[in-house]
């Protein structure tokens, strides 16, 4: 049994346990020790992955396969993890207890996302999804004296377990049909022709993952959970958790059900249209930045799902580029929202009033993120949408592109609501405090949001090599 391909995962786990016990056994609340150990753990894991771990190996009897796809996503998830730890170190303050537990759970989410990136087996995918979901349920309710945080957690937990059940049911049907849980073997063993049981299993799996990525009509938990959860956890849900869902979808649909694209692509197309239309329309009247970003996230799921509606290599790397753009502009937007909320004690849009003048840099950064989310050039979101729409037009999905661009224009209105608050309204003039680590994260996000748009070639090549 070879575990060397799993070294980064093992290292993350070890460091997570160390962080947990260091705080439990040490004196004080561990406000600094826990994030320090966690960051160290992630950095060690990245180093292990880059320098030590052999490429293209299988581990755990073929449950995991370390291919270029998993290599890319593991590095990506660990980098997001570092940014999350930075944000948490600024946000989870002395009033909160259980710092050790917080970072332990955070690293478990990262670990789950890393495992799902290389999962090659339905059971592994299921376990990884649960490894992401359970810590996330707890983290959503981390502020245990806050009623909204509790509500967020319970809602997320109940709907999340329902989704897991559906996913598991779908998987069991696939097992019944093929007698195996290995993705590649499934693709070979699936009977030709349209089997109604197979159809049910496809719908069940898509519905189960649909909950995790918050695609319409499986999105109902997301605005409430995003609003109630501590905002760093919201960021976690919007980035790692959502992308891990996409990775699961990618692995199952492309690797196992690749020959049946004609069937599932239609289901996905329906979800894509619903997500784009309803995500953007319901976002219009929102007045809370977290709810607004929740619906914005739902809408972006719609754009990303377009890539699953036709089989093409272009679509796959377009999706990866879109992921990159999505991550940086979202983490950036959430970071700004986080420090504004912390200073103004409110996440209503009106708390952004006048920030463009009291904090010029934050104003410019948030404007960049918002415009990138709309998909305006010269920002990352534009390149993401350009690639997705380009491959969709190439594959004759013109109607999806027309819906996509028109809903993008609609989305301009609610993203501009934030910008207008910052520049067109006079605020209370209170300067928002910008902690140093958050500033670093915001700056990284600004740089990447611009860089992806100005030199897309580099990111495109990475995406192509990750999906080849």
């Amino acid at each position: 049994m070879n575990l060397d391909a799993l070294l980064p995962e093992i290292s993350i786990f070890v460091f997570a346990v160390v962080a947990l016990f260091a705080v439990l056994l040490g004196k004080g609340k561990g406000r600094l020790t826990a994030p320090l150990i966690s960051v160290l753990g992630v950095i060690v894991s990245i180093a292990l992955l880059i320098f030590i771990v052999p490429f293209n190996r299988e581990a755990l009897y073929g449950w995991l396969s370390a291919d270029s796809f998993s290599y890319f996503f593991r590095i990506l998830f660990m980098n997001i993890g570092i940014m999350m730890i930075f944000l948490s170190a600024d946000f989870i303050n002395d009033d909160d207890r259980h710092h050790g537990e917080y970072y332990f759970l955070l690293l478990m989410v990262v670990l789950g996302a890393m495992l799902i990136s290389s999962a090659n087996d339905l059971i592994m995918i299921y376990i990884s999804i649960e490894l992401i979901s359970f810590p996330a349920y707890i983290l959503a309710g981390f502020r245990k004296r806050d009623v909204k945080s509790n509500e967020a957690s319970v809602k997320y937990f109940i709907l999340g377990t329902l989704a897991s059940a559906m996913l598991l049911y779908g998987m069991s049907l696939v097992y019944g049909l093929t007698g195996t849980t290995n993705l590649i073997e499934i693709s070979q063993a699936l009977p030709g022709g349209l089997d109604p049981i197979f159809l049910i299993s496809v719908v069940m799996i898509i519905a189960g993952v649909g909950f995790k990525i918050a695609a319409v009509p499986f999105h109902f938990w997301s605005p409430d959970t995003y609003e109630g959860a501590p905002i760093t956890v919201t960021t976690l849900l919007a980035t790692i958790s959502k992308l891990a869902g996409f990775v699961a979808l990618y692995r199952i649909l492309i690797f196992a059900f690749g020959d049946f694209a004609g069937i599932w692509s239609k289901v996905i197309a329906v979800l894509a249209v619903l997500s784009m239309v309803f995500g953007n329309l319901i976002a219009l009247p929102q007045n809370n930045i977290k709810r607004l970003l929740a619906y914005s996230g739902i809408a972006h799921v719609g754009y990303m799902l377009i890539c699953f509606t036709f089989p093409s290599a272009d679509a796959r790397w377009s999706l990866i580029v879109y992921f990159l753009a999505y991550i940086f502009m979202n983490i950036g937007a959430f970071s700004v929202a986080m420090i504004v909320e912390k200073t103004k004690k409110s996440s209503e849009l009106s708390s952004f009033a006048g920030i463009g003048y009291s904090n010029p840099y934050l104003g410019v950064a948030m404007t960049i993120f918002m415009m990138s989310l709309v998909g305006l050039p010269p920002f990352a979101g534009f390149i993401g949408k350009l690639y997705v729409f380009k491959s969709a037009v190439e594959n004759g999905q013109l109607y999806l592109v027309i819906i996509g661009v028109i809903t993008s224009v609609i989305s301009l209105y609610f993203y501009l609501k934030v910008v207008r608050q910052m520049y067109f309204e006079k605020g209370d003039g209170i300067k928002v405090e910008v902690p140093i680590l958050t500033l670093v994260v915001i700056t990284i996000c600004v740089i990447y949001t611009l860089l992806i748009a100005l030199y897309p070639e580099f990111f495109t090549r990475i995406a192509i090599s990750a999906t080849s």
Binding site: L376, L398, T460
Partner: protein, 487 residues
């Protein structure tokens, strides 16, 4: 290796915009001077290009073509020809003038001046980009600065006007993007390069689809009736410099799109839809003129006159004969100068009288004779008085359209000619009510024009007269480029 003039032209304003962001907020004069200084190199380079350019060569000159995103075939391809260079010079002149005209802006200076310079980069980029996606990026880059200029420094209904402007024009441009993508995949050339796409052979149905999609993007920008409703709102609320650039340059981007994209790349589509465009153009001419006549607000009057005057440009595009297209380009340049100046004058009058309502004004010639005189001069140019620049554009467009010698185009020309008469009507009536008649305002005297204000007006006056008396200064290069694209 030769100095890459176009990149310098394009990015020096952007450098200025970034430098301004790092200047101390309190040094008002410093910010103004830096922005002025960074607008000058582009102005200088645009004139250098004029003198270096081979006016008898209609092809692309000063080209630079570097690969940008190899994976999907994007390139950093810039170049100018006789159609784009007059517009580049116009952009550079009007931007510098806008900066001088904004000298009395007192709040949020850093943002204001860096946005104007950012806007300049966007506008110049549209006219020099020859890669379709690059063109689109600059096209969109213009929106954000203009949104802020209207929304932060604008009038009472700035919130509504700025967002309407943004959403309306974005809707047009995203459909244009879809058109670009459809074109890309059906051309069979695998390139976004506009100069190569000229050779694309498309199926008629696809070509018409692409034409409609790009048409929507361009038509909103021009704007052609019935896509014009954002324009009066945006103009009325925008600060003076915003109005000048909006009317002077942004509207030209749409018409330029027709000449750079629709006519050469989609010739069959252009032919198919020519009559429709001609009808919309003539409706714009008449409707814009009648609407202008009905306005009570001086600025709105100028805004609707833009709709009317851009109608001539579109009529020229529809007629698609060399004479008509020459006229269309001259009309674009001339309208940019004339309307830019009208907005400057409205701004000067408003600063003095604090009203733009025509009914409140009157007899201004007795209090501010120079401004009134220049207003009269500009209005005469705008209504097409021979010897001033406004004449040649309308003349060539009507001549070119008439020479098509079909009943349809002759009818169109007859109706458009009525528009000339209505234009004379509303402008003269406006002059009568604003500078003649009796003086009604409370103020005993109004401040005379000062040197800085004169500096913003005199260059435009000179150009209006120069083009009016000797149109060959730009006509030769325009004609060489037009001969390559006209049908």
């Amino acid at each position: 290796m030769q100095v890459d003039l176009l990149s310098l032209l394009l990015f020096l304003p952007l450098v200025g915009a970034i430098i301004i962001l790092f200047l101390p907020r309190k040094s008002a004069a410093g910010i103004k001077w830096v922005s002025l200084i960074f607008s000058l190199p582009s102005l200088f380079i645009s004139f250098v290009l004029y003198f270096l350019m081979d006016h008898s060569n209609g092809g692309m000159q000063f080209s630079i073509n570097l690969p940008w995103v190899r994976s999907i075939g994007l390139s950093y391809h810039l170049g100018v020809d006789g159609i784009s260079l007059p517009l580049i010079i116009l952009t550079a002149i009007l931007t510098t003038i806008s900066i001088i005209a904004s000298w009395n802006i007192n709040e949020k200076l850093k943002g204001y001046f860096s946005l104007i310079l950012l806007l300049e980069t966007g506008m110049l980029g549209v006219f020099v980009a020859l890669d379709f996606i690059l063109f689109y990026i600059f096209w969109e880059l213009v929106l954000l600065p203009m949104f802020f200029l209207i929304g932060v420094w604008g009038g009472p209904r700035k919130d509504y006007a700025s967002i309407k402007f943004f959403i309306y024009t974005l809707l047009g441009s995203v459909l244009m993007l879809v058109g670009i993508l459809v074109l890309y995949f059906n051309s069979g050339l695998g390139t976004f390069d506009m100069t190569e796409l000229v050779g694309a052979k498309l199926k008629p149905a696809i070509e018409n689809l692409v034409f409609i999609l790009t048409f929507l993007g361009f038509a909103v920008k021009v704007p052609i009736w019935p896509f014009h409703t954002w324009l009066p709102d945006a103009h009325v609320e925008a600060p003076t410099a915003g109005s000048v650039l909006l009317a002077g340059i942004l509207l030209k981007m749409g018409a330029y799109g027709f000449m750079r994209v629709s006519l050469p790349i989609l010739p069959e589509g252009s032919r198919f839809f020519a009559s429709m465009i001609a009808i919309l153009a003539v409706i714009s001419i008449i409707y814009g003129a009648l609407a202008a006549m009905a306005q009570k607000d001086l600025k709105k009057l100028v805004a609707y006159s833009s709709v009317s005057h851009m109608g001539y440009v579109m009529l020229g595009v529809a007629a698609n004969t060399p004479a008509a297209l020459n006229g269309a380009v001259i009309q674009m340049v001339s309208h940019g100068l004339i309307t830019g100046m009208l907005f400057l004058l409205v701004g000067l009058i408003y600063e003095r009288t604090h009203t733009r309502m025509i009914s409140d004004l009157g007899g201004l010639a007795t209090k501010i004779p120079i401004i009134s005189g220049i207003l009269a001069f500009t209005s005469f140019s705008s209504l097409g008085l021979p010897g001033l620049s406004g004449f040649w554009g309308e003349f060539f467009v009507l001549l070119g359209a008439f020479s098509k010698a079909t009943v349809f185009y002759k009818t169109m020309v007859y109706i458009a000619a009525i528009g000339v008469v209505i234009t004379a009507g509303y402008l003269l009536w406006m002059l009568q009510r604003v500078i003649l008649q009796t003086y009604k305002l409370k103020e005993e005297s109004l401040p005379r024009i000062n040197g800085r204000e004169l500096l913003t007006l005199v260059p435009i006056i000179i150009l209006i007269v120069l083009i009016g008396v000797y149109p060959a200064v730009i006509l030769k290069m325009i004609n060489s480029a037009i001969l390559l694209i006209s049908g």
